[in-house]
């Protein structure tokens, strides 16, 4: 018996507005992503890639069609159920890091665990492990303002993985970072996919960043223009 794909889109569409002014952000998309994949999503702005990410993340719902998570249709989910899906299955990394200001690194990482109702000591322990995993050991007490952009993104990644999510959703994770730091962050994300088996879905508009994925989806005008497997250069090197 084969496991169902972790993410399935069946004829998913998303419309904004009415009548003449209707914008088709997603137009009957079929898509399936298997556990353990590293998928890069590219496309010009307005192509529907962010909408697709929001639907996968349970932050938005399709106008029509069905989004299945681990084979389970989500169309009947209410807001709370979608929240629980995020809480237990998904980790988010954003372009703007989205850390809480004036809050220490470790407290930021603990945040998703707080909402799970985990007790203080267990939470702290797991947050410290996650911070160590992203290479921020020793900076646990630094507040957001005291960290560089790369370090802030590491904290955000630690926050995303501290709950052991099935899927890591990264929306332009390197958009605010310089080339060198971008490479470091991408190494980190690649490692999480390779070593921890976390499914990674990443939106980017940079070809070299997208190249880290093992599969590349290109969105154009709400359609899936291409879907191809990628062989990574460094896989050859190793």
């Amino acid at each position: 018996m084969t496991l169902p794909p972790i993410i399935t889109f069946r004829q998913v569409s998303k419309f904004y507005g009415h009548g003449e002014a209707t914008i088709r952000a997603l137009d009957h998309i079929d898509l399936s992503i298997t556990a353990g994949e590293f998928v890069s999503i590219m496309g010009p702005s307005g192509s529907g890639k962010s909408t697709a990410m929001n639907i996968i993340g349970g932050l938005d719902v399709p106008s029509s069609g069905e989004y299945l998570f681990q084979g389970i249709p989500t169309s009947g989910f209410d807001r709370a159920q979608r929240t629980l899906l995020r809480r237990h299955m998904l980790g988010f990394v954003f372009q703007g890091f989205n850390l809480l200001a004036r809050t220490s690194a470790v407290e930021n990482v603990e945040l998703p665990l707080v909402y799970r109702g985990m007790d203080h000591r267990e939470r702290r322990k797991r947050a410290l492990v996650a911070l160590e995993q992203v290479g921020l050991k020793g900076r646990e007490g630094h507040t957001t303002q005291e960290l560089s952009g790369g370090q802030q993104q590491r904290v955000a990644i630690a926050r995303a993985i501290v709950t052991d999510p099935a899927v890591l959703l990264a929306d332009e994770p390197t958009g605010n970072l310089d080339t060198k730091t971008s490479a470091e962050i991408m190494e980190l994300i690649t490692g999480l996919n390779r070593d921890n088996g976390i499914t990674v879905i990443m939106v980017t508009h940079e070809e070299d960043i997208a190249a880290y994925g093992k599969r590349l989806l290109r969105f154009v005008d709400g359609h899936l223009a291409s879907d191809q497997a990628q062989v990574k250069e460094h896989d050859h090197v190793l």
Partner: protein, 401 residues
Amino acid sequence: MFFETAKLAWRAISRNMLRSFLTVLGVVIGVAAVIAMVTVGNGTTAKVQAELSRLGTNTLFVRPGQWGPGRASSEAKRFNDKDVLAIQEQVTGLRAVAPLNRGTATVIAGGANHSSSVIGTNNDYLIAQDWDLSLGRQFLANEDRGSQAACIIGETVRKELFGATNPVGQNIRVSNVSCPVVGVLAVKGQSGMGDDQDDTVIMPLKLHQRRIGGTTTISSIILSAQDGVATTKVQSDVESLLRERRRIAIGREDDFSVNDMSQIAAAMTGTTVLLTGLLGAVAAVSLLVGGIGIMNIMLVSVTERTREIGIRLAIGALERQVLTQFLVEAVMLSIFGGVSGIVAGLALAYGVVSFLGVPFVASPTIILLAFAFSAAIGMVFGYFPARRAAQLNPIEALRHE
């Protein structure tokens, strides 16, 4: 989880300490005003009651007309000597029956003069009102009958008119009545109502009626029951006797009243109930204004923290959890306001009470009520902003800058 939420709320509040303080100022002032007024009011009432109870619970006051708020007594027929005599002879269990006429007159001795309250009564008055004599004696029988003038003066009158010299045996003139001083009352000080009880001249009723009041009637009668005799029995005996004497038909209301101190005290507190009601209305308005202040600042806070709320929603906070967070923050704010108000109100009351010389009586009920009310204010006025926060769209919230 609750501790977590409280910690978060505290952080948000303390981050904007000045703003938080100004926000709750309305609640602080409202609560402080209520606490201060109620506490001062309680102190005054306590003093009055202590005063009244010192006079004894076995004392009854008989007056014409019905006594109490909103009742006019001026129309009712006054008493006469025969009423007093009838009570003395027919009601058992009394240790003192004192008729009482009261007036104000200028009292002169030597070169000094002083305006004082002048009471016409008998020796029983000293028993019923618990007066001791510091000098001299009570009235003699012939003085009581009015054939011989005599006066007993209070300490204030003695001081004003005689200074250091002994007044006993000397003459004073009360409204042109020449009257030898036979005794001096021991010091009692201020009454609960704030008047000087020692500023008085006591003379036999007959003398007072003839020379001061120009009347043969009696305005009230003070009775004192013997120890161990129920005042309620005395009260009903006196009532039925007076109804008979005043020919009040069965079914008609008394045109006089017989009250003991606790009943008079209750009537007095009756008037304060109205005041308390008004006070409550003022408090409600000020707390309402305070609550709107809290709602306003919570709405500002939600807008300012839209992005933070978006982050929380995105990483797995339920609507309920965000709602609770903001609600706890609002309640915490208003409770701070309430507690500060209670402290400020008590401090203010303490100052006023010390100044007035009445006891400091903090009412736990009103303090608890103020606390509960301020918490409720936070709950009610915090709900709308908190709900707004909880229902934010996470995608838009995350985009918010």
